[in-house]
């Protein structure tokens, strides 16, 4: 029993220490964000690394998610004789939830883990220490551009994901199943509000980008400088990012859409 309490205490203290470390680190990152932003070329490089190179997986996933939504949605809607509402069902699901959430989960696995591994390896091979000794701040030079890259890329990817999903749903719903194209689009437009649905979804993606970006750079920067340390940091990035995205999504959804329905 005492053993158990001892373990619990140790785990709690460890978690609190890490939280404190993370808070200090985030403060340091935010304090340098403005300086980091002035280095446009570095930011472009990171958007290329995490955004452009994630484009293929986002496009393909979006297309398929949209197609599956169309098949399943049609199945249910046609029982109530309202298959015409397929467009609005698919678009609302994508724009409000699936676009930002699935994009963020894929992004954490594809780009977040890569950022963690890259920074972790730079720490393990003393590249960060070398930079520091050359009087170049590694947080401004290495961490901030990667964080900003995630912050910029994720909302863009989320909009592209949702668009690909709508196109996928159109292909299945209209071209394959044979719903009237006019009804598909008009129902969609009648129920999707640009400001309340599209922009709120985009805001969600921005928050997820903030979370995934911070977690990725933090885990990389504080990875143990060994092969094992880097690999476990990479795993932690994916796990913690995914859980944070889902938790944040719930909170944001409650705040944004509670009053509407």
């Amino acid at each position: 029993m005492l053993d158990l309490l001892d373990r619990l205490g140790a785990v709690t203290l460890g978690a609190l220490a890490r939280l404190g470390l993370a808070t200090l680190f985030f403060g340091a990152v935010f304090a340098r964000t403005w300086r980091g932003l002035k280095r446009g070329a570095l930011l472009v490089r990171e958007i290329h690394f995490s955004g452009v190179r994630s484009l293929a997986i986002i496009l393909v996933s979006g297309l398929f998610v949209g197609m599956v939504l169309a098949v399943q949605g049609y199945e249910v809607l046609q029982r109530f004789g309202s298959a015409d509402a397929l467009g609005s069902l698919v678009a609302l699901s994508l724009v409000r939830e699936l676009g930002p959430v699935v994009t963020a989960l894929l992004f954490a696995g594809r780009a977040g883990s890569a950022v963690t591994a890259e920074i972790g390896l730079m720490r393990a091979t003393e590249q960060l220490a070398a930079m520091d000794m050359m009087a170049v701040d590694p947080i401004s030079r290495v961490v901030v551009p990667r964080f900003m890259g995630a912050l910029v890329s994720l909302p863009i990817l989320a909009v592209i994901f949702s668009s690909a999903g709508v196109i996928g749903a159109y292909l299945v719903g209209v071209e394959l199943i044979g719903i009237d194209a006019g009804a598909f689009w008009s129902q969609m437009r009648a129920s999707v509000d640009f400001r309340l649905d599209v922009l709120n979804g985009l805001f969600k993606a921005l928050v997820f980008g903030l979370a995934v970006g911070l977690i990725s750079v933090f885990e990389g920067y504080h990875a143990a400088p060994t092969a094992e340390g880097v690999s476990s940091a990479t795993t932690r990035t994916v796990v913690i990012s995914s859980l944070s995205v889902l938790t944040l999504d719930f909170i944001l959804t409650v705040l944004m859409f509670r009053g509407l329905n």
């Binding site: 091979t125 220490a129 070398a130 520091d132 050359m134 170049v136």
Partner: protein, 278 residues
């Protein structure tokens, strides 16, 4: 910045430093005059690398003072520390080249970050530094394509890019074949004399060290136990010196990490860290 030439570049007084509960340096005094190449030797885990950290301001001494060029390193704030580091170069154990940049861009890095020089000037400077380490031909290679010795030379070219007054070398010969180690050793000597630098080498390669250093200090138990010239080391019959110079496993520096008596631990069963099987 007008110190008399006689003032030593590095001055450590009664320095105490460690990690957590473990003390690695205790009561260390050291002073290095300008222009000298000083080699710091000692067994692994004797705080040699911590010494480099203290000089570069990455570690802060628990007690005592660390002065470089008259400045108290432990008391410098961020900008002050960075200003001092711009006049220092450090060669890391395995080079620590930026793996995502080419050899050329690695050496251009300090110029691009610290100066506003136009790109053609940077190009000429980079080629000059590469020429100094004999690798001008490898400018467009990536670090992953280089051998260990070449990577170390590129890192050396990068470390001297801003013509530092002080060069710190962390195990510059480790993991190199004798030929590459010889090349690095001769480069250290040549660069030190050509650019009027002061160098501090942390190493346990006795042969290379004897060839290039002006002075050798031996660290044990957190303090300096011997301080002599290479010539003195060669002829000394001091037991400390002989253990290092000849690579004897046991001597004043023990082979065994402190442990309970061997026989007692083996016979005493589960009292030690003998294993989990009951």
């Amino acid at each position: 910045m007008s110190h008399p030439v006689a003032a030593p570049l590095i001055e450590l007084k009664n320095v105490r430093f460690g990690y957590g509960e473990r003390v690695v340096l205790d009561g260390l005094d050291l002073s290095v005059p300008r222009g000298q190449i000083l080699a710091v030797m000692g067994g692994s885990g004797n705080g040699k690398t911590s010494l480099l950290g203290l000089l570069g301001g990455r570690n802060v001494a628990w007690a005592g003072s660390v002065h470089v060029d008259g400045q108290d390193v432990g008391r410098l704030n961020g900008p002050g520390l960075y200003a001092l580091r711009r006049r220092m170069g450090m060669l890391f154990q395995f080079g620590a080249l930026f793996t995502d940049l080419s050899v050329f861009d690695n050496i251009a890095f300090p110029y691009r970050e610290q100066t506003n020089l136009p790109e053609p000037v940077i190009r000429d400077l980079v080629l000059m530094k590469l020429e100094a380490v004999g690798l001008r031909g490898a400018a467009q290679s990536m670090p992953s394509q280089l051998s260990g010795g070449m990577a170390r030379r590129v890192a050396l070219a990068r470390a001297i890019a801003l013509d530092p007054m002080l060069m710190l070398y962390d195990e510059p010969f480790t993991g190199l074949d004798p030929i590459s180690a010889g090349i690095i050793g001769r480069l250290i000597r040549r660069l030190n004399d050509a650019f009027g630098m002061t160098s501090l080498i942390v190493t346990h390669d006795v042969n290379e060290t004897l060839r290039i250093a002006d002075r050798i200090v031996l660290v044990s138990d957190g303090r300096i136990v011997r301080d002599m010239t290479p010539a003195e080391v060669r002829v000394s019959d001091d037991i400390f010196i002989r253990q290092f110079a000849d690579g004897l496993p046991d001597g004043p520096v023990p082979f065994h990490y402190p442990a309970p008596a061997y026989g007692r631990q083996l016979l005493g069963g589960a009292s030690g860290s003998g294993g989990a099987d009951a």
